[in-house]
């Protein structure tokens, strides 16, 4: 960008993170700057590494169940469902339909909770403080629903091998009805504040553009991939739990810039809301837990790969068993890690101020990256 006529400027290095308010956890970027432009960015991950995979290999399957919630604490339900599904596939058991619906519904509630955080934090990254608190308000609604059923707000520990821990309490039904009624209006509020806001458009439209080919090459998944125009959603393409019966039409947007990545999540919130409504309408009667499922299963030797569409993308779990009651290998393919992998390439040549929305629009969460 520097030409002979331009003023020669000296490149300098700025350290961003790991304790920076908008790195969504602890992510460190060493930026080489030329004025306000980023020349290069060297990402450092691993500040939140808890060795989750190794911990899983040293624990019984049931013991790791509550810990799976902590792999990606904004979408705990998905990690737990993946863990249970893997074990269930080994044990070759079929989950009762009611449990399937409950899992699906709570996964969608959790997805809304996660996207609410995204909405709030993304707005905060752009300097608007108020939407952050609106996002958290709706998150509280979903958290309440999850808490009254599972007993916790973030680390639910609700899914069990062959079902779920408990049936819905009486208080759940009026609460979920209220949620279904109220939520679309709240999303409309979000849209009113940001969607057409000229400043917001100026900050996000055409920023951090990633085309479909590049997104696929880097292994992107989830809303990030779909906002680059790729129609791929595990809920539609490889239905698990009750998604096959419910049917799902993914949100696909063409441009692949920050604005589309934002919009994809707003639209997904509406889609998830519709799914929850469908779940509540079609909730089958019956048991929530399959009878006679061992608490301490000894899985046959073999391997299984389970994929779940988490709010961040394709959450994969590769589980190898050697016939004992502990996993031999517990490999996670976390979506945030792959989504983050392009950050260096994406940040080259952008303005300093654009780092934050680009990073924010990927909606990565560092515990998911570092595991």
């Amino acid at each position: 960008m520097a030409t002979d006529t331009a003023i020669r400027t000296e490149e300098f290095q700025v350290n961003m993170g790991p304790q920076h308010p908008s790195t969504h956890g602890v992510f460190r970027m060493v930026l080489t700057m030329d004025g306000e432009r980023v020349v290069d960015c060297e990402p450092h991950i691993g500040f939140l590494h808890r060795s989750m995979e190794k911990m899983a290999e040293n624990r019984l399957y049931i013991q790791f169940l509550p810990m799976a919630d902590r792999i990606d604490y904004l979408s705990s339900m998905f990690c737990a469902v993946a863990h249970c599904e893997a074990v269930e596939q080994f044990m070759e058991i079929e989950v009762p339909p009611r449990a399937k619906y409950l899992r699906t519904m709570f996964m969608e509630l959790n997805r809304i909770a996660s996207h609410c955080i995204f909405f709030g934090v993304f707005a905060l990254d752009l300097g608007a403080v108020t939407p952050f608190l609106y996002g958290f308000r709706e998150r509280e609604l979903t958290m309440d629903l999850l808490e009254m059923t599972s007993g916790q707000r973030i680390t639910f520990n609700y899914v069990r091998f062959g079902g779920v821990a408990a049936d819905l309490p009486e208080s759940f039904f009026p609460a979920v009805e209220r949620f279904i009624k109220v939520f679309p209006g709240r999303v409309t509020d979000y849209e009113r504040i940001l969607n057409e806001n000229e400043i917001f458009l100026a900050r996000t439209k055409g920023i951090g553009v990633v085309d479909a080919a590049r997104a696929i090459n880097y292994g992107w998944s989830g809303p990030n991939l779909r906002s680059s125009g790729v129609d791929f959603d595990l809920r539609q393409n490889m239905p698990y739990e009750a998604y096959g019966e419910l049917g799902y039409e993914p949100v696909v947007l063409p441009n692949g810039d920050c604005y589309d990545r934002y919009l994809a999540r707003i639209l997904e919130m509406r889609a998830s809301h519709a799914l929850i409504k469908k779940c509540m309408e079609g909730l089958p009667e019956g048991p929530t837990q399959k009878e006679k499922v061992s608490k301490f299963p000894k899985l046959p030797a073999g391997e299984v790969y389970v994929r779940v569409e988490s709010p961040r993308g394709d959450y994969g779990l590769y589980l190898v068993s050697d016939g004992t009651d502990k996993p031999y290998r517990y490999k996670l393919r976390t979506p945030s890690f792959n989504n983050l992998s392009m950050i260096r390439e994406m940040l080259r040549g952008v303005y300093l101020a654009d780092i934050v929305p680009i990073f924010g629009s990927l909606d990565v969460i560092l515990p998911d990256v570092d595991r």
Partner: protein
């Protein structure tokens, strides 16, 4: 209020005259009195403004805001001020010490001085200079020097970046700001604040100059570093900007200056466009405060609703959009005055 001030002035002049002192003592005494009055006004005002900001932002965000200290947290700001006073005043080792120490006061002083020409009510003005508007804009520009020296003297690249950004922004937005005020001056035919208020005795200038008013409010938002133009302190990028190395009382000075400035630009807007202290039924001073606070609230709503612009967008917005708009407005005003 005017009567009260006149009585006070007469009494003081009589006192000085009977004591046989030279006449400059009268002026000096009046100025000291005015300084104390303005200082007290600013202190109370800033405390109130900070409380108001907190409350308004809290209620917009469905929170309560401060609730513990006093009625609905009314004295919270006083408590915070005392806390800041007690804090250790750290000075970075690599800083340019004299400049570092002077900068906060340099930020605060022009704001206080600018209040000299603000007409709070009928005749309630320290000095109705005949170049009042010019004086205002000249004196508030000194703020830039304070910010850039604060950023430079801190000896940290983050604060330096913040200072540079801030200086670029303030200098850019100064131009549309002054140009938008020019239309008003042309209509009033005077730079005297009193005369400008006088000229709006029938119709407020905002009716003649809606475009200029819009430009003024936008530019003023940028002048006081409020979202969507709060680039100098963009938390998400710079963490705090030029004042990142300051602590304790010096930080409080920057903070004080920021809020006093916010009221100042609102007061100028009220005087230039909304008829100043003029209004029916209520006393003039009250009208002035009502109008000023209406603008302050508007700025607050901007702050708590909008995201932030990027630096280059901010610049191109000032030079490619606001400035031409201000010129168009100026041209139209001139044509209308010349023709009609």
């Amino acid at each position: 209020m005017k009567r009260l001030l006149e009585i006070l002035g007469d009494w003081w002049a009589g006192l000085v005259g009977s004591a046989g002192l030279p006449s400059w003592v009268t002026v000096l005494g009046e100025m000291v009195f005015a300084a104390i009055l303005i200082g007290a006004f600013i202190a109370v005002l800033v405390l109130f403004l900070i409380w108001l900001t907190r409350k308004v932002s809290a209620h917009i965000q469905l929170r309560f805001g401060p609730m513990r200290v006093g009625w609905h947290g009314a004295v919270q700001t006083v408590a915070d001020a005392f806390k800041l006073l007690q804090k250790e005043d750290t000075t970075p080792r690599v800083c340019d010490r004299p400049v570092f120490n002077v900068a906060p006061f340099l930020a605060f002083a022009p704001t206080v001085v600018a209040f000299v020409v603000i007409p709070f009510g009928d005749g309630v003005i320290v000095r109705d200079l005949n170049i009042g508007v010019l004086f205002l804009f000249a004196i508030t520009t000194i703020n830039v020097i304070a910010i850039i020296s604060g950023g430079w003297a801190s000896g940290s690249k983050y604060s330096l970046l913040g200072g540079f950004r801030s200086a670029a922004q303030l200098v850019s937005y100064e131009v549309p700001l002054v140009l938008s005020a020019l239309g008003v001056i042309m209509l009033a035919g005077s730079m005297k604040m009193g005369a400008i208020v006088e000229a709006q005795s029938r119709v407020w200038f905002v009716a003649y100059q809606p475009l200029a008013f819009a430009v003024y409010v936008i530019a003023a938002t940028a002048e006081v570093n409020r979202t969507p133009f709060d680039i100098p302190e963009a938390e998400q990028e710079l963490v705090a900007g030029y004042n990142v190395e300051y602590s304790g009382m010096k930080f409080a000075m920057f903070f004080l200056a920021e809020f006093a400035n916010m009221f100042l630009v609102s007061a100028i807007a009220a005087t230039l466009f909304l008829g100043g202290w003029r209004g029916p039924w209520l006393p003039g001073e009250l009208w002035f405060l009502i109008k000023s606070f209406a603008i302050v609230l508007l700025l607050m709503f901007f702050r708590w609703t909008y995201p932030r612009l990027r630096v280059d967008q901010l610049m191109s917005f000032a030079w490619k959009f606001l400035l031409p708009l201000a010129f168009v407005n100026l041209l139209a005003t001139g044509l209308i005055i010349a023709l009609g």
